[in-house]
């Protein structure tokens, strides 16, 4: 699980071009969307595409999205639970 979180930190820093954030100071439990990082609805859509492309996991409703992108930890949990082949 920690590996997945570390992997996501690197991916999101690159995907969302968070040049002033490092994996070390990226708090996995902090509010991801609407928090201090300035991540908003457009970034959420970009993350939805990344999660589908890289993990084969589809997030297809706003309600689900809000829960999934609450924090890095919740995102990692969701991917873990929904990765094809993983037990829920």
């Amino acid at each position: 699980m920690n590996e997945r979180i570390e992997e996501l930190k690197v991916k999101l820093i690159e995907l969302l071009n968070l040049t002033d954030v490092t994996p070390e100071n990226f708090d996995e439990n902090a509010r991801l969307v609407g928090g201090d990082l300035g991540i908003d609805s457009i970034d959420v859509l970009e993350m939805v595409v990344m999660v589908e492309k890289d993990y084969g996991v589809v997030i297809n409703s706003q309600e689900v999205g809000e829960k999934v992108f609450a924090s890095l930890t919740s995102l990692a949990d969701f991917i873990q639970a929904h990765t094809p082949g993983n037990a829920v």
């Binding site: 040049t19 002033d20 300035g38 970034d43 859509l45 595409v49 492309k53």
Partner: protein
């Protein structure tokens, strides 16, 4: 200053509802949706999302589908008019992108194949078709483009210098917009249902709408254009302000401009895209402005959302509603959303309509609102005389040499400033959070804007933004299309789509400054900055409002080489210039106005230019030097015009061919503008730039910045 009515002499329309006014009215009477499956281009996978497509269009690549749609509507609007229009103003977001998409996929690298890509080419084509030798302007402000084009036409007609303008909007379906809106999850898979409780989004569509506007009363005018209002949310690149702040301001401004109270409006043509957020924001704005709202409806459930065309198509329908006496139904809305507190007119209603307010809102929070009335209604416009001149209180430029100080230092010794500022140098001068989602053009614009504001040494933030860009955000456009193709159309980037719109950079500037006034992006090829200046001097209020006027383009490999006729090989150049302007000459560093804008091949262009500047003798007296822009791609024609102009003046004015220094890029004239302002302030033009001795500037002498080639343009700069 013309304060009489502006008439709609005729109109043209082509949309998913059909070709022409009669077919459009018949379709509206039926109140059925024309939204259906896509077949303009094949999809690599999956079923088509619903779209609004125009029937009976052929599928040739040249000229592009956008050009052909525009031609159809323009021909209709001009059918009864024997004289050419004095100007053409089009709203357009994507030009010939549908053709470009196919060419890029095929790996085409020949310039000639891409000649219909630019937005500029659409307005030029329509001007050419209808023998217009005045300005052919393109505004590109996302989904408010069509309405803003008509608003700009209104202001130009009010100057009294122009009598007749063909104005409208056009866009064709394309992969960029189809997949772009899909990536933003803004498309309703069940068609489009504005204001319905279960609405889920829009349907991307296409079409064209054109109005022939005139200050001379025609025999049977369709309607009169009473007023217009523009505003910017300055809130978010895509989402509307949650309370509809900008929408409210645009409607209020348009009513004020028309001299009307809200109670005078009989029908509101809603923007009503069918996205949950747009309809909510629009409803909030309407309920706060109208205590008892009149009949209202969105036609987008029938037509879909034709982007830049929509404001013009709906302007045509607003005029039809007045001329023919009807309120269109809000097709697709079965159960009005009670949360919106508004009940749209759900079915077609035949009844007299006197005054219509038509809303158009777009990405970047850009809003345009138009007010139409009956022929007999006479506007009570109490507009202040504003004149042409803009006072410059600050400036900035950005070139291969860097910002203004280093650029001017190079120019003083006659050295080239051509090149592209390294990405890391650009990045180092901007806050990381501000630029993390935007690419080169928007970054250039933000750095130019903040530097020009800093240069004012403490003036308030600008309230309006006018920006010219020849080619728009090439990085985002290219990256979006590349990723779309590479992922077999599975993973289009929402961020790149948002960034690809031509008005993206100006919207970023608006957000930076919280600039909630007009926000207008023009795209006129090598004359984009001149077009932005014309828009600014026409639209900037006579009040103490200040604006940022910018011109910028980015160099992009490979797109710059393929698209821009002047860029052939060698290192790319890019950058631009920015002026902080208002109407207050006290303490100003300089004054500027667009003195002339003509187009076409006519040999009399230099004569008309000279007449506009007051005659050859006047020019000999008043001007110290000419800064001439001769784009390499139209070298022969540009040189002929320049020689014709200089020959007719009969005095050897010093000439600086500024592209020799800036390099070739569409908005190089914005750099020339900043050079002119700076040299006026310094009182001297470096001799190295004009191939002779330093040129001292007397306090009453002006600098003329000419654009040559497809158009002949003149900006004049002088001291206050």
């Amino acid at each position: 200053m013309n304060l009489g009515p502006v008439y709609i002499a005729a109109a043209g329309i082509v949309s998913p509802l059909g070709w022409g006014l009669a077919a459009t009215e018949a379709a509206l009477r039926e109140n059925s949706s024309a939204i259906g499956p896509l077949d303009v281009f094949p999809l690599l996978q999956g079923a088509s999302l619903p779209v609004g497509q125009v029937a009976e269009m052929d599928s040739s690549l040249w000229p592009s589908r956008t050009h052909r749609l525009a031609r159809v509507a323009a021909r209709m609007a001009m059918a009864g008019c024997l004289e050419p229009p004095d100007a053409v103003i089009l709203g357009c977001t994507t030009g010939g992108i549908l053709t470009t998409e196919q060419l890029l996929r095929a790996g085409e690298s020949k310039k000639e194949a891409y000649r219909y890509h630019g937005l500029f080419s659409v307005a030029e084509d329509i001007a050419e078709q209808h023998h217009c030798s005045g300005p052919a302007l393109t505004v590109s402000i996302a989904c408010s483009s069509g309405a803003v084009a008509i608003a700009l036409a209104l202001q130009l007609l009010r100057t009294g210098k122009i009598r007749r303008i063909l104005a409208g909007g056009v866009d064709a379906l394309s992969r960029l917009t189809y997949f772009g809106f899909h990536a933003l999850q803004l498309v309703d898979r069940n068609g489009c249902r504005p204001f319905d409780i279960s609405r889920q989004g829009l349907a991307v569509a296409e079409g064209a709408g054109m109005l022939l506007l005139t200050t001379e009363r025609p025999d049977n005018p369709l309607a009169v254009l009473l007023g217009a209002g523009l505003s910017c949310d300055a809130h978010h690149p895509t989402a509307p302000h949650p309370e509809g702040r900008g929408a409210l301001k645009a409607m209020q401004t348009a009513l004020d401009d028309a001299g009307l109270l809200p109670a005078a409006v009989d029908y509101i043509n809603l923007h009503g895209t069918g996205t949950p957020d747009n309809d909510r924001a629009e409803a909030l704005a309407i309920t706060s402005l109208f205590p008892a709202p009149p009949a209202l409806s969105s036609i987008k459930g029938a037509t879909g959302h034709s982007l830049a065309a929509s404001g013009a198509i709906e302007a045509v329908i607003s005029c039809l509603a007045i001329a023919r006496g009807f309120v269109p139904g809000n097709t697709g809305c079965r159960q009005p959303d009670p949360a919106l507190n508004l009940t749209p007119q759900t079915v077609f209603l035949a009844r007299p309509v006197g005054t219509v307010l038509s809303n158009s809102f777009g990405f970047g929070g850009n809003n345009g609102c138009l007010v139409f009335g009956r022929d007999e209604s006479s506007p009570t416009v109490n507009q202040k005389e504003r004149g042409d001149l803009l006072a410059i209180h600050g400036s900035a430029c950005l070139t291969g040499a860097g910002l203004k100080p280093s650029t001017l230092a190079q120019l003083h010794v006659g050295a080239s400033i051509a090149g592209m500022l390294a990405p890391n140098q650009l990045e180092a001068q901007l806050p990381p959070r501000l630029i993390r989602r935007i690419k080169r053009l928007a970054r250039l614009a933000l750095l130019l804007a903040s530097s020009a504001h800093e240069d004012t040494e403490g003036k308030e933030k600008p309230a309006a933004v006018f920006m010219g860009t020849g080619w728009g955000a090439l990085s985002e456009t290219y990256d979006f299309l590349s990723r779309l193709t590479e992922s077999a159309e599975q993973f289009p980037s929402p961020t790149d789509f948002v960034g690809s719109v031509h008005n993206g950079p100006a919207s970023q500037v608006a957000i930076l400054f919280q600039a909630t006034g007009a926000n207008v992006t023009t795209s006129g090829g090598d004359y984009s900055f001149e077009q932005a200046l014309l828009a600014a001097q026409s639209l900037l209020e006579a009040t103490d409002q200040s604006a940022l006027l910018l011109g910028a383009d980015e160099g992009h490999d490979p797109l710059s080489f393929r698209l821009d006729p002047s860029i052939t090989s060698g290192p790319l150049a890019d950058g631009g210039g920015a002026l902080y302007v208002n109407r207050d000459p006290s303490g100003a560093r300089g004054l500027v106005r667009l003195a002339f804008y003509g187009r076409g091949q006519a040999d009399d262009l230099p004569d008309r230019l000279i007449a506009a500047l007051g005659g050859a003798a006047c020019i000999q007296n008043d001007y110290a030097a000419v800064f001439a822009g001769v784009p390499a791609g139209i070298w022969d024609q540009g040189n002929r015009q320049l020689a014709g102009f200089l020959g007719r003046i009969g005095k050897g004015l010093p000439v600086c061919r500024y592209r020799d220094f800036t390099g070739e890029f569409a908005s190089a004239s914005a750099v020339a503008a900043v050079m002119a302002v700076s040299f006026l302030e310094a009182g001297c033009i470096p001799g190295a730039l004009v191939g002779g001795a330093d040129v001292p500037l007397e306090s009453n002498q002006k600098i003329l910045v000419l654009g040559t080639g497809h158009c002949l343009t003149a900006m004049e700069f002088m001291r206050p």
